[in-house]
Amino acid sequence: MHRSEKRYRKLILALALVLLVMLPASLIRISLAASQISARTFTERTGRSSVITDRKGGVLSGGETDFDSVVGNLTGNGWSADNTISRRYAGKLKPSGFNALTGEAGLSDRSWKSLETTLLPVQDQVTLKDAFRGKRGCLFSYNYKTGEVYTLLSLPSASFLAAGEENTDDGRLLNRCLDASYISGSTMKVVTTICALEQDPSLAEASYDCGGRFETEGGMDVTCLGDKEGGHGTHDLVGALGVSCNVYFAQLIRTLNVDQAAQTLRQLGFTVNGISGSSLKNVGELDKTVSSTSFIDYKAGSLWSLIGQGSTQVNVIDMAMIAGAAAGGGEAALPCVIAGEAKGKTKTLYSPETASLLSGYWSKATEQYYRDGGKGLTSLIDMAKTGTAEQGDGTVNRLLMGVSREKQTAFMIVVENWQEGDPMPADIANTLMPLLP
């Protein structure tokens, strides 16, 4: 007993010390909690708010009117929305003088910091929102040289307070540019072209014949939605990009080396066959989803993936970056939403040679097929590719990715569940161009 007793006294001394050590440990934990408090909590507890502004200093959030729903729930207006500026940039938005020792008393005389975003002014965003004419969808645009994001529009959207009484099942509290991925439709053909050019530029010089149908080993034949009976006839890459010929691209894909193509896709930011590459997972502090596809062989499913149906799911930010790199010599700036956060960081997506060849073919295709007679695209847009993505439920999404050299802007637009009479993405792109700085 005596021996144990001595030892136990030591043990108890250690326990008592543990309790004493809890004092500084708890203070450290509490200070850590101070850095984790969101700006929203400050607003709720003090009745005062931090301010988030657009690129011209107009108030988006924290003023008398809240424009959270206009800019795609981006500023953050509720607990449920986590991927928002007010949450992720809480450290920058908190009042400068808050310290854990003096607490709320220390807030009273301190100024609140405001955060300037790179987003277009509210009235411009409203114009763009109206251009969707009530359709769901999203619009991402950004400067591929500086990385400044102009729009991260997401529709429908709603402020958290209003959403309390509305149906939120349709994802109106999400930002579709950041949190969603779409079936790519024919916009994927630009990516396929890049794969070919990266492997061997001469692959893109071939011409193929389109008879409206291309038979594959897997059974699921590749068909063309061409407007002509019996297919598009014989054409080169420019023509194939212009009319979006599935049969042409099916034959082009068959000339690709599967492994090299998968490598290129990963370099472009895709997760291929479950293996991720150099994917971009964040826009500043905000999370974004990653594009994915599968390309295993030349059978029907894989072929369709690179044509733009099948298992290909793209994020609009990834696609806009791929488009932007065509005008940027294979490099695209990393997008960012907060002013001053862009420090000219770029990502190399493909080689400068590929970029120059691609922009040559793509500009020609756009010039020949997308102007007045075709899609009616404004001359400010140098390169563009439309897409039509069939959903599982039979509805159709219309997509458009493009680049404007003059505005140094790359963009991608999605109009969901498109029906006759609804706005075309090209109309929305035409609305966007004059609004850009």
Partner: protein, 451 residues
């Protein structure tokens, strides 16, 4: 009973005082807590001075140990009364609490001073553990409200009881009565281990952890083997790691650890408490007048009582409260009792207090995984109050400096009934107090005349 009674005086008086003071505090409480700060401080001062007076009265064996323990207890109970009063809960629970305190006094009456435990009493207590665990296992329910799925409560006629709390005290009693008795040792270890496992099965991770620590102390002491105790701790860590991998409940609890501010799975209480602490400021606290705003935090008065105290009064109160606990633990474990039973009660009690304070406070501010265990004397709670009353009783009995004189006194008064015994010892305390006062006054007067 005759032998026990003399030793009951001091602790019994403590409990009686507590009941009286809680009644007094509740009489002050208004439904609207306006202007509460003034009354709060008056109450707290009153409580502390009463308890200090008690300590003074009991300073007969010249035991600094007992005195400091009583002072610690008085500081803690006044803090407990204060925070419960501020959270507006004493009034609602007064009858309930007083009944449980009285029950604690009875339990204590039964347990205190039992230096040699008969076989019958030992196995009765062991049967009690089995019965409580069986009741908990088969009839235990989660509390209404869906905040937790842990089936810890028995609802009997509108009163909720946590059998796990009582099991802890009984296990301490069993362990203490097993010194050099191998059959009892085996029973005690087996019961500790099985209650630990059953409580884990019922998702009561906090009490399971406390009981496990009690088991470690028992192994350490009764088998006199620190190697075995170390092996046990290592084994427990391995088992815990296994549990995290295989139990959805445990892994969910653990994955929340360190992420309180993100409100994982809609759990708000820790984040709310941390925010309250921060917005009040670590120096100021939210203040007594704003304490009512903490009421909306779930289980603030029980599982987060120490955190609540920190939120209301700032970090200064932590020094006092943790200091009081440290004194309590240190003094309880430092006892050199001639009776192994008393000594073992004290060392197990000190481990229990340590574990509960550590789990309660660390959990409430997300320093360690949150288990929802009560802080002794601070938290509101029926079962835990009874059990802590019983534990304090056992500790006092072990520490009581009037042990010897009481023993001899009991022999002298063998034929006196309980009531006259109580009266006799009541008057004995008064006489002693008067004598002590007289002594002090004389000393002061003497000094004066010398000067």
């Amino acid at each position: 009973m005759k032998k026990t009674l003399p030793r009951l005086g001091a602790p019994l008086l403590t409990i009686l005082f507590s009941i009286l003071l809680m009644t007094y505090v509740s009489s002050l409480a208004d439904p609207d807590l306006g202007d509460s700060a003034f009354r709060l401080y008056r109450t707290a001062m009153l409580l502390t001075s009463f308890m200090a007076l008690l300590a003074f009265l009991m300073d007969m064996g010249k035991g600094i140990r007992l005195q400091s323990m009583i002072l610690s207890l008085s500081v803690l109970s006044s803090c407990g009364c204060t925070i419960q009063f501020l959270l507006g809960n004493i009034r609602d629970h007064l009858v309930y609490q007083v009944l449980f305190m009285a029950a604690a006094a009875l339990v204590f009456l039964f347990l205190a001073g039992k230096c040699a435990v008969s076989d019958r009493l030992f196995y009765l207590a062991a049967a009690g553990v089995v019965l409580l665990l069986a009741l908990n296992y088969f009839l235990g329910q989660a509390p209404p409200g869906g905040f937790t799925t842990a089936r810890l409560w028995l609802f009997v006629g509108g009163v909720s009881i946590q059998p796990g709390e009582m099991v802890k005290i009984l296990l301490i009693f069993l362990g203490a009565a097993s010194y050099r008795k191998w059959q009892r040792c085996a029973v005690s270890f087996a019961l500790c281990l099985s209650s630990c496992l059953i409580l884990l099965k019922l998702s009561d991770m906090g009490n399971a952890a406390v009981i496990f620590l009690i088991l470690v102390v028992q192994v350490f002491y009764l088998l006199d083997s620190w190697k075995l105790a170390l092996l046990l701790v290592t084994g427990a860590f391995t088992a815990f790691a296994w549990l995290i991998r295989h139990s959805a409940y445990a892994s969910a609890r653990l994955s929340n650890w360190g992420h309180a501010m993100e409100r994982p799975g809609g759990v708000h209480q820790q984040a709310d408490l941390l925010e309250a602490i921060l917005f009040g400021g670590l120096i100021n606290g939210v203040g007594a007048d704003h304490a009512g705003s903490l009421k909306s935090i779930y289980a603030i008065d029980s599982d987060m009582a120490l955190g609540a105290l920190l939120a209301v009064f700032g970090a200064g109160i932590l020094f006092i409260v943790l200091g009081a606990y440290v004194i309590l633990i240190w003094q309880a474990a430092g006892n050199h009792s001639v009776y192994p039973f008393s000594h073992l009660v004290l060392v197990q009690a000190s481990m229990l207090i340590f574990a509960q304070v550590f789990l309660n406070f660390g959990g409430s501010i997300d320093l360690i995984p949150f288990t929802g265990i009560t802080a002794p004397l601070l938290s509101l709670g029926g079962s835990s109050m009874v059990c802590f009353g019983a534990l304090t009783g056992m500790c006092f009995a072990a520490e009581c400096p009037i042990l010897k004189s009481a023993d001899s006194l009991a022999r002298e008064t063998e034929n006196v009934d309980i009531l006259s015994n109580l009266l006799k010892f009541g008057s004995r305390y008064l006489k002693a107090a008067a004598y002590r006062l007289k002594e002090v006054i004389c000393t002061v007067l003497k000094k004066d005349t010398e000067n």
